[in-house]
Amino acid sequence: MRILNFIKTFFRNILLHSGFSLLTLFGLSIGIAMSLLVLIYVYYESNYDRHWPHTEQIFRLYSYGEISGEAIKSAVTPQPLAGVVAQAEDVEAVVRLVPGARKLVAGSFNRSLESGFFYADPGFFEIFDLTFLEGDPHSALRDSAAVVLTRSTALRLFGEEKVKGALLTVEDSSVFRVSAVVEDVPANSHFSFDFLASWPEVEARLRKHPEDERAGMIDNWLHLNSYTYLKAKTNVNVSQLGREVAALTVQEVEQQIAASFSGRGEGEGRIAINFGLQSVSSIHLHSQLDNEPRERASSLYLYIFTAIAIFILLVTAVNFMNLTTAKAARRYKEVAVRKYFGAGRRMLIMQFLTEAVAFSFLALFLALVLVEWLLPVFNAMFQIRMSVADFIREPDTIWILVLTMSLGVLSGSYPALFFSGLKPWSALNGNMRVSRLGLVLRGLLISFQTALALVLLVLTLGMAWQLHFLQRSSHGFQEEDALVVEWGGTDTEGLLELKEGLLQRSEVDKVGLAQFVPGDDPTVVSFRWEGDSTRVLLLALNYVDEGFFEALGAELTAGRWWNAGPDSSGAAEAVISASALRLLEQSGAQQQFLEMIGGRSTARDYRFKVVGVVADIAFSGIKGEARPMVFVPDREAARSEHLIIRLNTAPGAVNAVQEVWREQAPGRTMHYSSLAALKEGFYAEEQRFAHIAVMFALLALVLMVFGLIGMSAFLLQYHQKQLFIRKVLSAGFKDLLAYSLRDYWLFLAGGMALGLPAAAFVLQFWLAGFSRTFVLPFYAYILPVLLMLMLAFVVAWITGGREIRKVVDS
């Protein structure tokens, strides 16, 4: 009953002093909303792959080892691994998931170039239990030419969900029959697919056609190309299982190495591959492997985000205390009267805690509205798919309530102690005096918030600057006026004709063909200098045609471009990148001939004469060191997947290309992008973090403004008596404003003095992750300072000015 009275008084108080109360409420809501968003994100990221039934029994096998001192840690494993691991006693099921190449796929409704084509063993759905809209998990991958589609893929290609039995044409040649439609793979899974076809079918076909270059991988322990998952029996000791897997595989691998490398497996040229187990639910945050099917997140970021969420809540709580007690005077009478008429200290503490908790829940309600409203922005920023509904359904929702309750208790604790300790007669007579210590504590909080906002602002500017710097630096190609068009798939018939057709158009300057273009992740292949059997070199291999370098605008730094076709010695000519040259020089060899070791079974040429050196072409941006690369001729365009088209600046050049495409490649959709856009894509991750930093910087600024409002309101109350005395002594408006807010500026300046060096330090820390960096100009530090001073001035003028005017007019 008493509580109802408290809540009634509280709401009437809000209505009576609506301006300041709304400000406090809004501050609290923003704080809660932001920390909720961050916590939802942390929750989302830390629950990857936990939606599979029996997720604790599902493990992925990974490969690790070394090739000539280079460590290998890869998520992909060799094909034969699954068969061997299935023999282990503790294993219930093993399946392989094999990524397919990009394919041109046509349904009855649409036709497009698809990159989500995967193959799997028939037992896939026994481990990864997806909901079937049509078909059943046991037979879905058993028939030949069967393909399982996800719901959104079915909609995209057929315009409807129920498409079981429909035909899907791939690369205009082979036909699959849809055997089942499943729900989309949940967004927080470490892999995703759009199509799933039967891998044993492909395997059987390849065995029948040993001349197919892909047939070599079937029994090859050194060819890593598929993801292998196992479901362990219940209550299995994982380390025991790991040992079992190692024991089963070690001999197979050793035999293969011995066969492939004529007994070499020791010393500097040592090759060793082992297999480990990782729990699927740990992959997203903790896997440190190459060749992940999807982008991972760092657990470090999650710790940082959790800390940020807690920090936001703390600052919000302290701001609430500040704002509540800054305007304490208007509650003095009520508290005094309650004390006169029998309220004890405990009851008053209860009252103020109840109020703060009620306030927090009111703020939570507003915060949820804000979250719902901001979530799309946030999803776009973090590139994820979260929804409040997913989060609210979870039993963990109780934590939101607990958190809000705690926030209420925390933020109400100081007002509760402050008010309950008032002497009623002093409160009634206005003889309240806040201790100097209270002022200093509030001031330090302002300094801290200012420093934090400054650090984030400078960091944001620094990130923007670094991105700009990176994008303007040379990437080894000229991105202006160049298009990259995907040919798509392995069927290259008609590609050379298309190139010729394009070259005949006046709008087109140059055309080049390549297997990989900037933005791709080229295959890394092992090489050695001819005659040097002691060392293996890992180089990215790219099959290109002779037009590639000029179309891309690459720069030759030594030697010459190659001629297509083998030279008199029978070796093909190769151009290497500058960083490959450095690597080769480091190895001390002076040979001119490179010999390919890995991937030899599928290559046409394996002996190359190095004739030229090209400036490093950044395939994935210039954040890290350039990747050593070898460019070898792609004769008859057998491996080319892309065209690079350099246009002249005539208007309608892109239309001209499309026109030629329609003539030469009827029925194929032209997927293209500009080289400039691909380059932009290198820094998507940095861009994402820059956006997040902008968000936090803005939030920090908002929190700082709330802090400043609280501080100025508090100072005016603190100095109120002095203000009246000075007014009587004929001090003017400006004198009074300057007098009452002296400490406000002092603590603000203190925060800036603290924030500037901290900002420089944090920025350097971030920049350490880049191989090329810049020096942030001094005005990038001055601008945020000016912005904050301006905000501080506005706050002082509005909140302080109004109160001082009251004093002057009284």
């Binding site: 008084t9 009520e334 009267v337 309650r338 008429f341 309220a343 009623p424 007669w425 009634l428």
Partner: protein, 256 residues
């Protein structure tokens, strides 16, 4: 001087004079308040300002006593001490037979809750509460059934003619209505002692008279009343006047 006046002639047989000339009561429980040598000062950083010096006051059960004195005479401090809000620095104060000088805040609260009521010059109604809610406020801190509480509030509102404005808020009331509400609030729990600190100070003369009449009525109904005032004219309404000057009791005599 303390002891010079005779406040309780009817009970003359119950008191005796000590050697020092001060009154000594053999039946202390008969008294509402009994103070001996009360001392209170305000302690600044370097100087202590004495506010009450050796104050001896007795207020009998059911009495109407006025404590009169100019500003700075120590009235407000005495109000707080007699109201058990503040503890004296030295001396004794007995409330309904119990020594309270050495008690802590919580014990003093337990003694005054439900027994002592206060009325102020500034009315001091809670702005966020309606008239009825203001009146009900002291009952919230007493264990009482809702129905009983409602009954008592209605009765108090009726007594002071506030029934028709019970849903209004203080800012919608005249000064007199506010002070009447304060009186209703002060008497709703039927206190044994009512302390009124310049209750007419913010009212015009008509309002002042109405409040004084109401206070007399409260006293006649059995509540002990101590009126703090700087107006001798008002003090005359009491049956006994204690004059305070610079922290000393200068006179204490019955008024007829």
């Amino acid at each position: 001087m303390a002891g010079a006046g005779v406040g309780f002639e009817a009970q003359a047989n119950r008191k005796a004079l000590s050697d020092t000339g001060q009154r000594v009561y053999d039946l202390e429980q008969w008294l509402m308040i009994h103070t001996r040598d009360l001392v209170k000062g305000y302690h600044g950083q370097e100087v202590t300002t004495p506010v009450l010096i050796n104050v001896n006051i007795d207020v009998g059960d059911g009495e109407f006593v006025a404590i009169a004195g100019p500003s700075g005479s120590g009235k407000s401090t005495l109000f707080n001490i007699l109201g058990l809000l503040e503890a004296p620095d030295a001396g004794s104060i007995v409330f309904r037979g119990e020594e309270v000088a050495g008690l802590g805040e919580a014990d003093r609260l337990a003694l005054r809750r439900g027994h002592i009521a206060y009325v102020f010059r500034q009315f001091n109604l809670v702005d966020e509460l309606s008239v009825a809610e203001n009146v009900a406020l002291p009952l919230l801190y007493l264990k009482m059934k809702r129905s009983e509480r409602r009954e008592r509030v209605e009765e108090a509102l009726g007594r002071f003619g506030l029934g028709h404005i019970s849903r209004r808020f203080p800012r919608q009331l005249s000064g007199l209505q506010q002070q009447m509400t304060a009186l209703a609030r002060a008497t709703v729990f039927q206190p044994t002692l009512l302390l009124a600190d310049e209750p007419t100070g913010n009212l015009n003369s008509a309002g002042g008279s109405a409040v004084m009449e109401a206070l007399s009525a409260i006293n006649e109904a059995g509540t002990t009343l101590v009126l703090f005032t700087n107006s001798m004219q008002e003090a005359q309404k009491a049956r006994r006047i204690i004059q305070l000057f610079d922290g000393h009791v200068v006179t204490d005599h019955a008024h007829t």
